[in-house]
Amino acid sequence: MTILLIENHEDTVTYMKRFLEQLGHEVVVAADARSAANAVNAHRFDVILSDIRLPDGDGWTLMEQIRGKTPAYAIAMSGLGSAGDIVRSHSVGYQDHLIKPFTPDKLREMLKKAELVATHGARRNLQSRSGTSDII
């Protein structure tokens, strides 16, 4: 999958990118909200993995701006983990909310979910174009 990683902590970017690439994904990094919005305009991503605290804004406002432009499965990453924060993430368009620190296995699990959703979506699109459907 093609993943947009929006994160400004240098070490986290280095190792998360390496991990994701080792899993076979293609990773594009954006260190702030502005470059993330530009990346979404320029490329098609399967997954958006975004920190909530960004140097030039927050991941919630960013998602409100880009949600209409991308069908990507979006995962918020944040040290903020109150029920209110999670609800806010979902309400702006994130499908999942990871509370930092989280394990690589947890991320891998969510990426599998994203892959399933992406495959399912692609199949559904294909079937709706051909006029058949096996989706209940």
Binding site: H9, D11, T12, T14, Y15, M16, R18, F19, Q22, L23, R53, M77, G79, L80, K100, P101, F102, T103, P104
Partner: protein, 196 residues
């Protein structure tokens, strides 16, 4: 060393703020100076206070080592503590603060309206605790949580590499050690209060 005239003046001057205060000496077991508000709070006459042993009036709580301060103006440490004084006027125990020098002189200040136990103090404490929790959470997120995520992914990436038969370089292991050291530094700074 005797008590200075300034200390006596402060004790009396606190009347201007309705704060009951007195100066006493533990070894001599006598009250030395007090102000009008102190007299009214304990419900005694001047003569009674002059005659009564201080230990019959004031009860000191134990002061912990954390409540000892060194000050430049006086050569020996000051012990901060709580004290109670029975009020003949109300029959209640009045709560106060005591500031004891090691030569036996004690400055006693009473809480005339029970500020310590009032709702406003509880609210202020709660607000302070919430503020502190927020600052701590923020500091933890900015430092330890972020470094831990990096470390977890560094180890996971290393593991995948090893499973694929790739030997990690000394530089990669050094970087892991560096991340661990940064985390240790952050935790130390947080626990010592230098990073919030």
């Amino acid at each position: 060393m005797n008590i200075s005239s300034e200390s006596n003046a402060i004790c009396r001057g606190l009347d201007e703020f309705c704060l009951p205060a007195a100066l006493m000496h533990i070894g001599r077991d006598r009250l030395l100076t007090w102000n009008r508000n102190f007299l009214e709070a304990v419900g005694r006459e001047e003569e009674e206070l002059q005659a009564l042993p201080a230990s019959e009036l004031v009860v000191f709580g134990a002061s912990s080592p954390k409540e000892i301060a060194e000050c430049k103006e006086f050569p020996s440490p000051i012990h901060f503590g709580a004290c109670t004084i029975r009020s003949v006027a109300t029959g209640n125990m009045l709560v106060g603060r005591s500031f004891r020098r090691e030569d036996g002189y004690v400055f006693v200040m009473l809480d005339p309206v029970g500020i310590e136990s009032s709702g406003s103090v509880a609210e202020a404490k709660l607000a302070g605790q919430q503020l502190e929790r927020g600052r701590m959470r923020d500091a933890l997120h900015r430092t330890v949580a972020q470094e831990l995520v990096a470390l977890q992914f560094a180890v996971a990436a290393l593991k995948i590499g090893l499973e694929g038969g790739r030997t990690p370089t000394a530089g990669e292991v050094d970087r892991l050690t560096g991340l661990l050291n940064e985390m240790a530094d952050s935790i130390r700074a947080l626990t010592q209060g230098t990073k919030i």
